[in-house]
């Protein structure tokens, strides 16, 4: 649908926040703590962090929590009773202040959970989320959304996209979906008519560093390259990159038991861990860090495009910012682009 463009006064944002918070809805927004920003449930408008280029953690945790119950069980005298999770236990969530790259990531994550088998647990949770995106006016050297099909004012994935018109100005609101319209309906008076606004001039400038098609083509023949070994030598094999990534979906399934009661949970896992693919026999198909690093890159830029027709990277640059060993994905992709076959 053609997006409806409205103007929201700077002072109206707080009013909108108050409206959104009510009536069995929760607002999740960026919150700063220990110098890091992540999404959490916000009660007070003033708690929302504003001074960030990109949040430390992606908003993935809202639709794909790091630990998520998939069933409950209890042992009793008659045997076993097992119960699934009811969708109405999940509240309506307003996801406030996410960047266009994160919003694009929602689509990529959804493709993983919906190719072939449809993951209803994920879909249910996502159906309760309304995405209120905020365009980027600032960028840093880690950003590369424009190289992977995004841009600082990308509307993809958002229900409403807000773009601030200048440093301290009002906001252009692009209402993109039905969910977005429902938000407007909650307090239409906050959304004024917008004149002709050239949104692009208020957006950050993110230079294109490569084209993802170029990387895709290269990776097809790159599996046995020595480049992986060189790149991964300083990788220390933690899961930080995967856990802050908006599109990494690898998970583990674990049982959590307390006496006769317990639940089965789905929790995040990372292809960077050495035991990720370890067989019970002791055999490990990816037994060196270079194989694990290769899996991370290949999965995002070769396997996903081929199998799911989407890329597994939104160019948010979080993995590079979070990496304790300074593995920089942009730099590594660029060197793959330039490497001789």
């Amino acid at each position: 649908m053609k997006s409806d463009r409205r103007l929201v006064r700077k002072g109206s944002l707080e009013k909108l926040f108050e409206v959104l918070k009510g009536d069995n809805r929760q607002v999740y927004a960026p919150f700063s703590r220990n110098g890091r920003t992540s999404y959490r449930k916000i009660e007070k408008f003033s708690d929302i962090a504003t001074d960030y280029i990109q949040t430390t953690q992606s908003s993935k945790e809202v639709s794909f929590p790091r630990t998520e119950k998939i069933l409950d069980y209890s042992k009793n005298a008659d045997g076993m009773s097992v119960k699934g999770i009811e969708p109405d236990q999940i509240p309506q969530i307003m996801l406030w202040g996410i960047r266009p790259c994160d919003a694009m990531g929602i689509g990529e994550l959804s493709s993983i959970f919906n190719w072939d088998y449809k993951d209803e647990i994920y879909n249910n949770r996502l159906s309760k989320v309304t995405v209120l995106g905020f365009s980027c006016s600032k960028t840093d050297e880690y950003c590369f959304c424009t190289s992977v099909g995004g841009n600082p004012g990308n509307t993809e994935g958002s229900d409403i996209l807000f773009t601030q018109l200048g440093g301290n100005g009002d906001y252009l609101a692009e209402i993109l979906t039905e969910k977005g319209e429902k938000v407007i309906a909650l307090s239409p008076e906050l959304f004024e008519a917008a004149g002709d606004i050239e949104k692009e001039k208020f957006l950050a400038d993110v230079p294109v560093k490569f084209s993802h098609k170029e990387i895709y083509g290269k990776l097809e023949k790159f599996f046995d390259s020595e480049e992986w070994v060189g790149q991964s030598l300083r990788c220390i094999g933690c899961g930080a990159c995967a856990y802050v990534c908006p599109t990494c979906a690898c998970f583990d399934i674990q049982d959590d038991s307390h006496g006769k009661l317990g639940s089965r949970v789905r929790c995040w896992d990372s292809c960077g861990f050495s035991l990720f693919t370890l067989h019970t026999s002791g055999h490990n198909p990816r037994n060196v860090q270079s194989a694990r690093w290769r899996q991370r890159i290949m999965h995002k830029f070769s396997y996903m495009p081929e199998r799911l027709s989407v890329y597994g990277c939104t160019g948010c640059g979080r993995c590079s910012r979070a990496c304790p060993a300074d593995m920089n994905i942009l730099e590594h992709l660029t060197s793959i682009k330039e490497a001789a076959l």
Partner: protein, 278 residues
Amino acid sequence: MTNNLYMPYQMKVERITYEAPGVKTFMLRFVNEDDQNKFDFRAGQFGEYSVYGVGESTFCIASSPTRKGYIECTFRQTGKVTNALSDCEEGSIIGFRGPYGNTFPLDEWKGKSLLFIAGGIALPPMRCVIWNALDLRDNFKDITIIYGARSTKDLVYKHELQDWGSRPDVKLITTVDPGGESPDWKGEIGFVPTIVEKVAPSSKDTIAIVCGPPVMIKYTFPVLAKLGFSDENIFTTLENRMKCGFGKCGRCNVGKVYVCKDGPVFTLAQLNKLPDEY
């Protein structure tokens, strides 16, 4: 929730058979009759078996799809879940979800001879196909089974081996590794590849299905090639670590191929195209 992919069927352990040291076969029946009526699978598929409070573990369905009303699985006690399964008694309730993965193309094999080569604990995935083929015996020409284990006590399905051995329409060759024989052992002594070479089954109109430890498979493929089997006519299964079973959890892939969805059954021709990461 209507469609929770992770929700297992409740299964009752109806019969436990001790197969070999640390190896048991469970016969499982659906607690809910509805589930049983809806359930259907094909030879080669696998499932996720779970003990509540402990976790899930992946292995194949070892019974034939032609035998309705129950499924069987055979597992060796090695990890957390298989140990907990092993502690189950007859009557216990466990979880099972599946079936997942692709299947052995038995329909395409109609009118051909079948050669089964298995080693050790790898007979269970093949047992499913063997019984499936035997139940539809008229569809196939010769059926040959070559099965080897470390020692006589490690041979699984001892009763069925006797059964197959006594059938006129099956040629069964069992073997144990040198030193693994008991005084009354009447089968062959030697490693599986050696025995295959010795038996030298004909490759004419024949499909070879090979399952076993990596080292056995590695040395069996060249023998089969020498006997004239084409890569397209050699089938095997890959076993990778899995959590979900349906292409989401991200750990079983070999390159772009997901063992849980595109496998576990592969022809040698397909395997040759995969990167060396399994």
